[in-house]
Amino acid sequence: MYRIKADLNVCQGFANCVMNAADLFDIDDNDTVVVLKEVITEEERAHAEQAVRSCPVNALTLEAQ
């Protein structure tokens, strides 16, 4: 299992995460990221990591649990 963490102070609303994984991320009315699904499985890891890596300001991290 992995946990997705978002640093709302770093997020600038680039929305690259939404482009890559609209099932895991959204942008709210504050124009910052919302993690739709915080805990993910090993099968979803590559998909989630792609979204994490696509953040231009490194606002997202994936932590093994």
Binding site: D31, Q50, S54
Partner: protein, 417 residues
């Protein structure tokens, strides 16, 4: 099965250690690839990110942003074998080897070409005071010139030129953008949105000299004269040239690969005619299943996203995924965030949600095709709308309905100010 099943390669050699190359290496590990990865970079500097070069680095705010793409420690942790400082000179497909400038040869099971792009050769000799911008060294040299004072002439009003102009204005320097086109951003974003960029430049007293080409840049640093096709001149202390880039595919001339404005690839980003060679980022021209002509995209998001598909297709030979993204780019200018998704350049029909005339708009231009379907959008300081419209494009929703929904959201306004 008609052919022998493809095996997972025992070694991946990535040529190019910038945004796409580093992303391929990282994504291979994320995909569970546990064999050898070699990352070759022509520049001696450790891999660094490119978007800050035209913004934070020029303004002296490098400390506010991420500039490293991968550190020595991260590379060691991920078991990525990084070789920096020598360009690749040859790809020998028969021997499956990449040859570096010093003759060293790297054998590969799969090779990823991620050599990016290089500025279109400047017709005006580069020298102290006349600069192009691609590397961190270019950026630091321009910053030094900016600190010596203005005025600044920016030749080319595309993304890079506009961002450099914005940074120079932030530093308080007088700036003139010169471009032979009347609306330099038009090719990228369509006519209506292009006006938005010229209006914004005007608000910040960036002078625009549009519709005339540059004939010559004479003089020395601090005392340059830029001569235009209409006979007029512009004085500048520093000139920055931003007239586009060309794919770095020259080193592949002897490889036998199909090169045509980049490395021509199939929908899986595999080089045409070479089983074990892939391309990602600015150098890749691939068959996008939803586009008539092969695509080559010169933006950060594409480099990272395409890298992910390449890594997946290398690590999972039995699960090949075509790369067919909805295009997405952003640009930050004068403190405004522009986000462009889909194909706004392809259609003229659009609707504006929000008021673009206020001091800091929160607005969206919504584009429909002839059938009224949402096909593109440009948002201004409104990431939430961008995310909604991106989903709408993927779902093929009606543009008018999407615009109406956004208008309702706009009146609700942001939660914080």
């Amino acid at each position: 099965m008609t052919a022998a099943a493809r095996a997972v390669p025992d070694k991946v050699v990535i040529v190019g250690a910038s945004v796409a190359g580093v992303a391929v290496a990282r994504a291979l590990r994320a995909e569970g690839y546990d064999r050898e990865i070699v990352l070759l970079g022509a520049e001696a500097d450790w891999p660094y990110d490119k978007p800050p070069l035209s913004k934070e680095v020029l303004c002296g705010h490098s400390d506010r942003v991420r500039t490293s793409l991968i550190t020595r420690d991260e590379a060691r942790e991920l078991a990525i074998d990084v070789h920096l400082g020598l360009a690749a000179e040859e790809l020998d497909i028969a021997e499956r080897e990449v040859v570096l400038a010093d003759g060293e040869r790297f054998g590969y099971g799969a090779c990823v070409i991620a050599t990016g792009a290089t500025p279109r050769p400047s017709p005006w000799p580069l020298r102290l005071g006349v600069h192009e911008l691609r590397t961190v060294r270019d950026s630091l040299a321009i910053r030094e010139r900016f600190l010596a004072g203005g005025p600044v002439a920016v030749v080319g009003g595309g993304f890079i030129g506009s961002e450099v102009a914005s940074s120079a204005r932030t530093l308080g320097l007088p700036v003139t953008i010169l471009d032979p086109l009347e609306a330099p951003m038009e090719r990228l974003v369509g006519a209506a949105a292009a006006r938005l960029f010229t209006d914004l430049a005007g608000r910040h007293v960036t002078e625009l000299r549009l519709g005339h080409g540059v004939v010559a840049i004479e003089g020395t640093a601090g005392e340059l004269t830029v001569r235009l096709t209409d006979g007029s001149t512009v004085k500048a202390a520093t000139a920055v040239i931003g007239i586009g880039v060309l794919p770095n595919d020259g080193w592949l001339a002897s490889s036998g690969l199909l090169l045509d404005n980049g490395v021509v690839c199939d929908e899986f980003c595999r080089a045409v005619g070479a089983e074990d060679v892939f391309a990602a980022g600015d150098v890749a021209r691939w068959h996008h299943l939803e586009q008539a002509a092969p695509e080559r995209v010169e933006h950060w998001t594409n480099a990272v996203d395409q890298a992910g598909f390449v890594a997946h297709n290398i690590a999972h030979p039995d699960d090949q995924r075509p790369y067919a993204p909805i295009p997405y780019v952003w640009t930050d200018q004068y403190g405004w965030k522009f986000q462009i998704v889909g194909h706004p350049e392809s259609v003229s029909c659009h609707e504006v949600v929000g008021d673009l005339t206020v001091e800091r708009p929160r607005a969206a231009l919504v584009y429909a095709d002839a059938g009224g379907r949402l096909v593109g959008a440009l948002t201004v300081n409104w990431p939430r709308a961008l995310a909604d419209l991106r989903r709408g494009i993927a779902d093929g929703v009606n543009a008018e309905g999407a615009a109406r929904a956004l208008a309702e959201r706009a009146t609700a306004g942001p939660v914080k100010t």
